[in-house]
């Protein structure tokens, strides 16, 4: 327990060498998560209610009884409410796709490293195959076969990103499975699943956690990219990526549409990346 507290301190509190304490970024992240969870309580208006006569109103204007604190979008919807609801999509897509791709990738990677022989060959060649197929191809195929929507965005991201975890898990498992304590566990009759999940996984979790944090930021960006290509979550659902990809068309006439969701997305990705960076520097100053 004390070790954990010490870790926490070193990671997130101000240190002698200066710099912004990572705690700040954890706080930003926490704030965004809270906004996402309590969106219906915080948002002043329904994010989907349109007002065709109140389109593209600048921040701080009022039209037909609606006060647009952050302005209105291309269909006269309240931007603030949409930014608040958008947090839900961006965060949940990233969380779910990291969990899914991590679970698949880590399991396969560990199996490959631990079992060797044909399992290793099959898994690692599958990794090669999946790394070679353009993500956009998979995205369009998923959409046309299964239909568009939130679930498929998560599936596309998981399907294209699991090889990252598999590689790291594989390499780490390879390095660790000959360690005396693993051999001891095996000699004492522990089954492969027990060895993998009780003895190996805890010891390779640190580098994987770093990968997952960095991937989290990427997932947020990829979700936005899919929206830009018209393959993201379905309109009119508010997502930062979708708002940004529409808002970029209004950079010189209605700057607020892109700026506010863009800023939130930026803060989210930056915080997660900085936390990941701090984590990786702390856990293993030599790698990555």
């Amino acid at each position: 327990m004390t070790a954990l507290t010490a870790t926490w301190r070193r990671l997130f509190l101000p240190q002698a060498n200066g710099g912004v304490p990572a705690g700040v970024f954890v706080a930003i992240l926490a704030a965004l998560v809270i906004v996402a969870i309590f969106a219906p309580l915080i948002a002043p208006y329904n994010p989907d209610t349109q007002n065709l006569m109140g389109r593209l109103k600048p921040p701080g204007t009022e039209a037909r009884g609606t006060y647009y604190l952050l302005g209105s979008d291309e269909l006269g919807r309240d931007l603030l409410s949409r930014v608040i609801y958008g947090a839900r999509v961006s965060l949940s897509v990233a969380v779910l796709s990291v969990i899914l791709s991590g679970a698949v990738g880590i399991t396969l990677g560990m199996l490959a490293g631990y079992r060797g022989s044909w399992v290793e060959v099959v898994v690692m060649r599958l990794v090669d195959i999946f790394l070679s197929i353009p993500a956009i191809l998979l995205a369009i195929i998923m959409v046309s076969v299964l239909g568009p929507g939130f679930t498929n965005v998560v599936l596309v991201l998981a399907l294209t990103r699991w090889p990252r975890y598999a590689r790291v898990a594989y390499g780490q498992t390879l390095a660790i499975s000959n360690q005396p304590y693993v051999r001891l566990a095996r000699a004492m009759g522990a089954g492969p699943l027990r060895v993998l999940f009780l003895h190996i996984l805890p010891n390779i979790l640190a580098p994987l956690a770093v990968v997952a944090t960095l991937e989290f930021g990427l997932m947020v960006l990829f979700e936005a990219g899919l929206s830009f290509l018209g393959l993201g979550v379905q309109p009119p659902t508010a997502s930062w990526g979708a708002m940004l990809s529409v808002g970029r068309n209004y950079v010189s006439t209605a700057w607020w549409i892109a700026t506010f969701p863009g800023l939130c997305l930026f803060l989210l990705v930056l915080s997660v990346n900085l936390i990941g960076d701090r984590l990786s520097a702390y856990l293993n100053p030599k790698s990555r």
């Binding site: 060498n17 710099g19 290793e120 060959v121 195959i129 070679s132 940004l244 892109a258």
Partner: protein, 308 residues
């Protein structure tokens, strides 16, 4: 050793074959391209006639066997949409992709390496932490947004650079930066850790003890020795860049393979997609193969063909 080589080579070929097969079939799950090729007024009979003339009316297995046979004869087919040989289409786009990838790598290097170096050497100063923040910030914006902001500022308001297109060095600058920003932080991080690693080694410590200045150390030893991991990560970064180029190429109207991929996938131009994926698979898998072999030469312990 040569048995290992042959095995790995065989596996690589199987992987390429796997990519080809997978892409062949999953593409055809998405339906067929004729709907996009006919005008709005076409009748079902017109659609059927076109499908016949493209050979898409045959059973899937027959199409697959024909495809493999064509591949064996190195015949990569003709685009459904453009009616031009796939090799010709890809070769006309390849130079642009190489330019953009090269430009992006250069940007990532030129900014990422010094930042990593500075962070390792002056790691006790607040400013270097901020530097990393800036580098990470640069990759925290979706490229389709940062891209259009760059176009507005440098292309429209300041008129320093052409807003989009290709054809001269100045056209290459903005897309390279937009794409390079994505890899910059990776390079900074790797440079930092490998230099830190290097600095903790005995020869550096003793040189320090002898009173060799930091500047000399950096110039003489640190950069050179820590470049190896940086270069080895580049192999992986390249395939990342190829994938990331889709959006950058769309925004900057850059005629590389990324744009071609999106357009061909959307048009269900199966033959072109197969060609692009085959090329991509060939590059990715051979890079991995070479890396594996090099690692096994350097470190016989990983003879099994694995690496971290």
């Amino acid at each position: 050793m040569s048995v290992f080589l042959l095995q790995r080579l065989g596996q690589a070929l199987v992987a390429i074959f796997g990519v080809m097969t997978l892409v062949f079939f999953i593409q055809r799950l998405t339906g067929d391209p004729t709907y996009l090729l006919v005008p709005e007024t076409a009748t079902q009979a017109d659609i059927d006639a076109l499908r016949r003339s493209l050979g898409l009316d045959q059973p899937l297995v027959v199409q697959y066997v024909n495809y493999l046979w064509d591949m064996l004869r190195l015949d990569f087919g003709t685009s459904y949409v453009q009616n031009v040989a796939v090799t010709e289409i890809i070769m006309s786009r390849l130079p642009y992709t190489l330019q953009l990838t090269g430009g992006a790598l250069l940007v990532a290097f030129v900014i990422g390496l010094p930042v990593g170096l500075a962070m390792a050497i002056w790691r006790r100063y607040r400013a270097t932490n901020l530097l990393m923040g800036v580098v990470l910030g640069a990759q925290s914006m979706p490229t389709f947004w940062s891209g259009i902001l760059m176009i507005m500022v440098f292309g429209v308001w300041l008129r320093w650079l052409p807003p989009s297109g290709s054809g001269s060095f100045s056209h290459l600058i903005m897309p390279s930066i937009a794409l390079g920003l994505l890899s910059m932080a990776t390079y900074a991080r790797i440079a930092r850790s490998s230099i830190l690693d290097e600095m903790s080694k005995d020869y550096i410590r003793s040189a320090r003890a002898r009173g060799v200045t930091t500047g000399r150390l950096v110039g003489k030893h640190l950069i050179r020795n820590s470049l190896i991991p940086v270069i080895s990560i580049s192999a992986l970064e390249i395939s990342q860049l190829l994938a990331g180029a889709v959006i950058v190429e769309t925004v900057f109207a850059w005629p590389g393979l990324g744009q071609l991929t999106v357009q061909s996938v959307q048009a269900r131009d199966f033959v072109v997609v197969q060609g692009i994926v085959l090329l991509g698979a060939f590059v990715t898998i051979s890079v991995n193969l070479v890396a594996d072999i090099l690692y096994s030469v350097v470190d016989p312990r990983i003879r099994k063909g694995g690496r971290a």
